[in-house]
């Protein structure tokens, strides 16, 4: 008989292995799924994981999609570590796009090297402002930050939709709900020729480094980790819970806001009613698969980016709907959560006690 029993110590090995197991199981599920819907699993695998990145342009696209995920997930992980559940990255991303993109429209055709830095700052401020609402309500009124930050996702998207339908609509745009195209000074430069890989990917790498410094080297990072692992210990040590809520949400908001600005000033180049294919939600999965660690997040965001690209490629090559990406994102997180059990628990094969006792007697 097999019994589940707690380990005396959480397994370090399992905490590194578990994401790999989850990825492998997701792959197996994908192969079985493609077989079930009558496709050659090899073709499906090729279309999903090889075809999107078999040239330089494809590799650039991998970075284009990984950059926002990396930025957001590094920020979210800092909150998650201390049990601050910011689920509002999608809204904070949108708020960053609104403020940063609004600055681009305000300084339309103004040529100046200061325009872009101002927009990046605007993106961060927009995201932080949006995240400050759940932070304020949590610290002042004890309001659940999960529900508030999530509600604000819908509000931000309606706000953006209103802006591009009415006040910020392109005057020469035949009434389409979209803003003017940003002028060149307001666009992030491409960092790798012949691709769309833009400066945002550099921001993302900087975020990973800063995130690592914050987690490993700063006292606040340490306090937040303690609070996440043992709230009462943190309280006893006199760490201020409110400050952690504020930091967790503001850092997450700033990163998501910059990610949003990078989307509109990078691959999109204008404001549209929708500026993100769910990066704010996917980044939650990236943060978990990356073990809330900046380096893990770097790898996980590349993987998640490949899932997005694979979904698009499978749509073109196999006629599969791109919604399949969301399904596999969810499946990946399911497997990860299940595999994580074995960090704290192990399977113990129980030999029947009666047999053991009689064996002893015989010897």
């Amino acid at each position: 008989m097999i019994r589940i029993e707690p380990r005396p110590q959480p397994s370090r090995l399992m905490s590194y292995l578990s994401p790999l197991i989850a990825v492998a199981l997701t792959l197996v599920t994908g192969i079985i799924f493609s077989g079930l819907v009558g496709m050659n699993p090899l073709d499906a695998f090729h279309a999903f994981f090889i075809a999107p990145i078999d040239d330089l342009y494809g590799l650039g696209e991998l970075g284009v999609k990984a950059a926002p995920l990396m930025l957001i997930a590094v920020g979210l992980a800092i909150g998650f570590r201390s049990n601050v559940w910011n689920i509002g990255a999608e809204g904070q991303l949108t708020a960053g796009a609104i403020v940063g993109g609004g600055l681009a429209l305000l300084f339309y055709q103004v040529d100046g090297v200061w325009v872009l830095p101002l927009m990046v700052l605007g993106g961060a401020v927009g995201g932080m402002a949006w995240a400050s609402i759940p932070a304020l309500l949590k610290t002042r009124f004890n309001t659940n930050e999960i529900l508030v930050s999530l509600m604000l996702n819908y509000v931000a998207i309606f706000l953006l939709s209103y802006l591009v339908h009415d006040p910020w609509r392109d005057p020469d745009g035949f009434n389409f709900p979209e803003s003017r195209l940003f002028s060149d000074a307001a666009m992030l430069p491409v960092v790798l020729e012949d691709t769309r890989l833009h400066l945002g990917s550099v921001f993302a790498l900087i975020a990973v480094v800063l995130g690592w410094v914050f987690v490993r080297k700063s006292f606040v990072g340490f306090q937040m980790q303690v609070a996440g692992l043992a709230d009462s210990a943190a309280l006893y040590a006199g760490f201020r819970r409110r400050r952690m809520v504020w930091i967790g949400l503001l850092v997450g908001g700033a990163m998501a806001g910059i990610a949003g600005l990078c989307e509109v000033a990078g691959p999109i180049g204008q404001l549209l009613p929708s500026v993100s294919p769910g990066y704010g939600y996917a980044a939650i999965i990236v943060a978990f698969v990356g073990r809330l660690h900046p380096v893990g997040i770097l790898l996980a965001s590349l993987l998640m980016s490949l899932l997005y690209l694979g979904g698009e490629s499978a749509q073109m090559e196999l006629g599969l709907p791109s919604a399949i990406t969301g399904v596999f994102q969810g499946v990946l997180l399911f497997y990860l959560l299940a595999a994580d059990m074995f960090i704290n628990f192990r399977l113990h094969v129980v030999t029947p006690t009666v047999g053991a006792a009689s064996g002893k007697a015989a010897s």
Binding site: L137, L147, Y281, G326, Q329, A338
Partner: protein, 307 residues
């Protein structure tokens, strides 16, 4: 004038009913100490499965059954993760929602432009002819009557039966319940599955009565609003009903404001239910004792009998 008011009230009932189903289901789940944030995911998979089965079979009631089964199936995934595999309930609930939104978009591809005739209203003879009360209470659709029955049944179960008492006890202290010999994990499974079935029913109401259509992401955050309603109601079924119809009203008002000649852009009006959710959460949460006294004490904490 009376016609208009009756119309608005009926629309409010309709808009509130998906929230009634989903929030009552989540209430039972949370009373057992389990926080399932996947309501949105269970609801939307329920909606698409109900719609697809109804469209294929031509039988609306088969659709409703499919919704219930689909919601239950989704809840089973959550149950296995959190109750058997001891996962973090917040993370598992989020995963369920992300998965559900993707899965529903995939299943629903062929049904986006399909039209269905929704479930018809039942006109109770004689009673439905009473002015005002007749149309408001005695000629509603069968699922709406079902929501009233579910409310009565859940309130009775939780506060008037031994099984209900046991469920609440497990939510307060699973350790004590186990030491008395009750199968805590099994009972929590049942509570989670019931929550899923109710979320599926909420999806059925949306896709087969309220719209009746399938549109991608059509639940539009109603699952999350239902979660907020449970907090707003401080875990009491009666207040869940009040809250659900209040939100139904807020949803309906946005369609009528412009009719009254108030010129507000539709996108800003669409924000109303979400902003209202935040406002009521603030109002109820600022009284920290109301939350502490009423929330099940073990809510959201993983529990393993051998720990």
């Amino acid at each position: 004038m009376t016609e208009t008011v009756i119309g608005i009230l009926l629309a409010t009932l309709g808009a509130g009913t998906p929230l009634v189903f989903a929030a009552l289901g989540e209430l039972v789940t949370e009373k057992s100490g389990v926080l399932n944030l996947g309501v949105e995911g269970m609801m939307i998979v329920g909606a698409v499965c109900g719609f697809a089965v109804a469209a294929e079979s031509g039988n609306l009631w088969l659709g409703v059954m499919a919704s219930v089964l689909a919601g239950t199936g989704m809840a089973l995934v959550f149950g296995v993760l959190t109750l058997t595999f001891q996962s973090n309930q917040v993370a598992a609930g989020l995963a369920l929602t992300i998965f559900g939104i993707g899965l529903s978009a995939y299943i629903g591809l062929d049904y986006t432009s399909v039209a269905l005739t929704g479930i018809a209203n039942i006109h109770i003879p004689v009673l439905s002819d009473i002015p005002v009360a007749g149309p408001l209470l005695f000629s509603l659709d069968p699922l709406l009557y079902c929501s009233f029955l579910m409310f009565a049944a859940i309130a009775y179960f939780l506060y008037r039966t031994k099984a209900g008492l046991l469920l609440r006890a497990i939510g307060e202290s699973p350790e004590s319940a186990v030491s008395l010999g009750y199968p805590v994990i099994a009972i929590r499974y049942l509570a989670v599955l019931f929550g899923g079935a109710m979320a599926g029913l909420a999806g059925a109401y949306l896709a087969l009565v309220y719209t009746p259509l399938w549109v991608e992401a059509m639940t539009a955050g109603r699952g999350w609003i239902a979660l907020a309603l449970v907090v707003f109601a401080t875990w009491r079924p009666g207040r869940v009903m009040v809250g659900a119809y209040l939100f139904g009203g807020v949803t309906i008002i946005q369609f009528h404001v412009q009719g009254f000649g108030v010129d507000i852009p539709s996108q800003l009006l669409s924000m109303l239910p979400y902003l209202a959710t935040i406002v009521v959460l603030v109002l109820i949460s600022r009284d920290i004792n109301a939350i502490r006294l009423n929330a099940p004490a073990s809510l959201g904490k993983a529990y393993h009998p051998s720990v």
